[in-house]
Symmetry: D2
Subunit: 102 residues, 4 copies
């Protein structure tokens, strides 16, 4: 069991590393958008969990989430793609909600 | 609290969607590598969790994880980049460990 | 950087193990409910991600998610607590949606 | 697809809520340990991801992770169970590594 957990976590980091390096070969124009959106997705997911479980740390995570959501919105607002504009709107709304909780 | 959870999850899916669409604009050559690595990373992470907590569903998740790790290895073996070769090795090892647990 | 990743993942598994063992000391009556709900939460979260990113593996994850959601609903339906009844309803709805995708 | 994502995320939060409420019925003595360990596990997992992908936000997440790891160690050091002592050690090590990165 323990060796399976270790192999899974080693594979997890190797896959993250490979995806990260391959994404860096992407078109310069969208690179920052991809990286910021992936970070923002993860932090929003954790923030939802901490709020849903009424964690003692939810206010601190909300404060950081509000900051990252605003940064992600600022990045996505630069791009005319519909999915970027949609993402920017969701980020601004989430930043507002998180700021209230923080 | 509830509206913050909802805003975070809405932002989570909007960010995932934006990242996914932006990644699709990447160089064709690396697109499949990025998508498969991101999927494999997530499933390995879940598999590690189910094994670490001795879940009743760990065998089933291990079976699916072994399959996805082999597919990810096959994809990454096509690319000469060091991070792809490293990822392929970690995937093959994880597939073996997971097959034992499945 | 690498040693920080390793320390974080070692701490992640130690915390999961500690929580799992401490949960096992819980009241027998709710133990299965807690474990199944935590498993179901994780798999639903992964399933949402795979569907949102239109992964090649979303159908397979949906099939497993439908199965676990039905098992979680069956467990939670045994308990009269409002949060258990609410959870059972969400699980049945999710199982139906996932069965369509599978 | 969209309705499946929504059903999965609704089920995710319902399962988290049910697990959280059921855990609150646990023995008072271990309640804080369980909650802190679950929070710490999640934040360590996110911190590993942000470090592994060399995120612009890894230093900030490391700072928060160091704080939560120290709090989790302080809680687990109160309990004589082997898994609590083991967890406390992993938390102290992780807090040190994260403090270096922060």
């Amino acid at each position: 069991m323990k060796s399976c957990v270790e192999a899974c976590l080693a594979c997890y980091t190797a896959c993250l590393d490979c995806a990260t390096e391959s994404i860096k070969m992407s078109d310069e124009a969208m690179l920052n958008c991809i990286q910021t959106c992936l970070d923002c997705a993860e932090l929003c997911n954790l923030c939802a969990r901490f709020c849903a479980t009424d964690s003692d740390y939810s206010a601190k995570i909300c404060a950081m989430c509000a900051e990252l959501c605003d940064a992600c919105a600022a990045e996505c607002e630069k791009h005319d793609h519909e999915h970027c504009q949609e993402c920017a709107r969701a980020c601004r709304e989430c930043a507002e909600e998180c700021a209230v909780m923080a």
